[in-house]
């Protein structure tokens, strides 16, 4: 399977570019492109300090299920199944954080659950929107759809999906459960108590997740492959840009805005679509 091998490479490189572009936006040099790989290798060499052994087990499950999600997705299977697998993976991470029984990761886990509540409706609406156009939940069918690119029929859904991407990537307005640079009231929230190899697993899982989510963005442009890849990369840059022009929101604002976006853009789009048909 190409995905299983290539995704971490692509994901890691993308993260390297992310750090580079962010740095340039902040008038800094930034680290080398391969820095994320160096980080992960270094993490693997570090002593693994755990509060409870079972937290590592949950993180391992998190990694497995993220890979599984991506695998299902790129194998062209059912989109709904993909969403369930993704949620399950996230739940494992939350459980791991709960297990660590530190107040920081505990509150981080609670916030992560709130964030999941915030983005889940929009993700489901995205699947429904795609079904309404292509009449199939199978990723394979959606990717092979030959009409106008989905984005023209689902502009609201597309924008709403971009909004959830900000949450999923834990970027600036929504980095409340675990921020990238541990400069937060919760230290690093969800991932505070993970160290060494476990933390490396979380990093790798994020790379898989990144590639998978950008793959989903590609689905909106499936009938025009080159445009699709270009837009996916553009979306990635956009996410970095938004990261750099926003302060972190509070959880109340995060959930309220995410639901408002889901209701207006996502639901509105579906409503119009069904009226047109």
């Amino acid at each position: 399977m190409v995905y299983l091998l290539a995704a971490p490479l692509v994901g890691g490189l993308l993260v390297g570019w992310d750090r580079r572009i962010s740095a340039r936006m902040q008038s800094r040099q930034g680290p080398p492109i391969f820095q994320p790989f160096y980080d992960v290798f270094k993490l693997c060499k570090k002593e693994n300090i755990v509060v409870r052994r079972s937290q590592n087990y949950y993180v391992a499950l998190f990694l497995v299920f993220v890979i599984f999600t991506g695998g299902l997705f790129f194998a062209g299977s059912d989109l709904l199944l993909v969403i369930f697998a993704l949620t399950l993976a996230a739940i494992f991470l939350v459980l791991g954080a709960y297990k660590a029984s530190s107040p920081f990761s505990f509150i981080g886990a609670e916030r992560e659950l709130i964030q999941m509540m915030a983005y889940e409706p929009m993700v489901l609406l995205t699947a429904i929107g795609m079904y309404m156009v292509t009449k199939s939940f199978q990723v394979g069918d959606i990717a092979g759809y030959h009409g106008v690119p989905l984005v023209f029929l689902l502009p609201g859904i597309f924008l709403g999906f971009l909004y959830t991407l900000e949450i999923k990537f834990r970027k600036s307005p929504f980095d409340l459960s675990s921020s990238h640079h541990a400069h937060q009231e919760l230290v690093r929230g969800l991932t505070t108590e993970f160290s060494g190899r476990t933390l490396a697993m979380i990093e790798i899982a994020h790379w898989y997740e990144l590639v998978f989510l950008l793959g989903w963005v590609y689905l909106f442009f499936a009938s025009m492959p080159i445009l699709g890849v270009a837009v996916s990369l553009l979306v990635f840059v956009l996410v970095i840009f938004v990261d750099n022009v926003f302060a972190r929101l509070k959880w109340q604002a995060a959930i309220r805005s995410a639901w408002a976006v889901a209701a207006v853009l996502g639901f509105g789009n579906i409503l119009i679509l069904s009226l047109l048909r």
């Binding site: 962010s22 008038s27 800094r28 509150i107």
Partner: protein
């Protein structure tokens, strides 16, 4: 959710310096904040008994790494008052310039830290980028980046030559322009405002009663600024305190942002009107007497209580730093805030814990 105690510090990534807060939270609402300070008590007040009063300037400067110059200046002023030393006017103007430069660098540092506390990394980096220009001026004129070491009893140790004055004036233009770009974001961006407006409100009455000083007090509507005492060159360059009435974190941010431009203005005036002449007078003998010297630091009023008995060591050297006066207000605003607001609130008093504990 039941009550949880979140340990906040002494080593916490948001905190620039070690202070410990036990936050009793109930569902992300802070019910109570229990402080403990004293992790970095260095006994500098006690050191006054060991060092002679002249070399103690260097110790006084090191009370704080950010407002160091004004610490040195206040100490020198206190001794000069006791010994009836008349400082040459050029030295007074130079002190004013350096004092205001340190105010700009301190406020920019604070703006950066505030941005970082609310998760706005790029704004943080850009604030510190501009601060770097100020630090370069400071390094070129005094030799140190944050510890100036240029104040001494009876005057200053270094002069600024005319070429340098022209250079500072042109740099000030650039700095002002770049600061404008940054403060616009702080003042207008909705995501920043959503984190600052209405957070940690202190009414005028409360702020006064709790003994707040500096921007904290001015943000609540009390026009108090120790520069109005007219020390150094402030007797020739009048300073109007910048006040706000809202009393929330946004107002504190606004006061500090506006003070940046006020300081630029003061520096410009001081450099234009700087008189020629000596930069220091020779001071002989030992101080004998007592005074309380108050000056305005970036963080607010600092009070130096100096008592000397005619020997070369001071009998008592006591510093009441602005953060010490602002701590009660911080504990007050922390009660009932959101957990996510804690870093912002801790930062709005501009905590300088090393100063506080000396």
């Amino acid at each position: 959710m039941a009550r949880t105690i979140i340990p906040f510090g002494p080593q916490h990534p948001v905190l620039p310096e070690p202070v410990h807060l036990d936050l009793v939270v109930e569902d992300e609402k802070v019910v109570e904040a229990r402080p403990s300070i004293g992790f970095i008590h260095r006994g500098l007040e006690k050191l006054a008994e060991k060092k002679d009063y002249v070399e103690f300037v260097y110790v006084a400067e090191r009370i704080c790494g950010i407002c160091s110059f004004i610490h040195g200046q206040s100490y020198c002023q206190a001794i000069e008052t006791i010994m009836n030393v008349t400082v040459p006017p050029r030295a007074l103007y130079l002190r004013t310039v350096w004092g205001e430069l340190s105010r700009i660098h301190s406020h920019l540092l604070w703006l950066g830290l505030l941005a970082d506390a609310m998760g706005f990394e790029s704004l943080f980096m850009h604030s510190w980028r501009v601060r770097e220009r100020v630090l370069n001026i400071i390094e070129a004129t005094t030799g140190g980046r944050v510890i100036f070491g240029s104040c001494k009893i009876g005057g200053v140790r270094r002069d600024i030559d005319p070429a340098m004055i022209t250079h500072i004036q042109s740099e000030m233009k650039t700095i002002e322009k770049e600061m404008r770009e940054i403060t616009t974001v702080f003042m207008n961006d909705r995501s920043v405002k959503s984190r600052l407006c209405g957070v940690g409100v202190l009414t005028k009455q409360e702020a006064y009663e709790l003994g707040c000083v500096g921007p904290m007090l001015r943000a609540s509507g009390v026009a108090q600024d120790m520069r109005k005492l007219g020390y150094a060159a402030y007797k020739d360059i009048p300073v109007e305190p910048i006040t706000r009435t809202e009393g929330d974190s946004y107002a504190r941010c606004a006061v500090r942002s506006e003070e940046l431009f006020q300081s630029v203005d003061i520096i410009r005036q001081a450099l234009e009107r700087i008189p020629d002449g000596e930069i220091a007078v020779k001071v002989t003998g030992n101080p004998n007497g007592e005074t309380i010297m108050r000056t305005e630091q970036p963080r607010g009023e600092v009070a130096y209580c100096v008592k000397a008995t005619g020997s070369k060591n001071l009998q008592r050297f006591r510093v009441r730093t602005p953060t010490f006066a602002n701590l009660p207000a911080m504990l007050k605003v922390l009660q009932g805030c959101d957990l996510a607001d804690v870093p912002v609130l801790v930062l709005t008093i501009d905590p300088c814990i090393s100063c506080t504990e000396r």
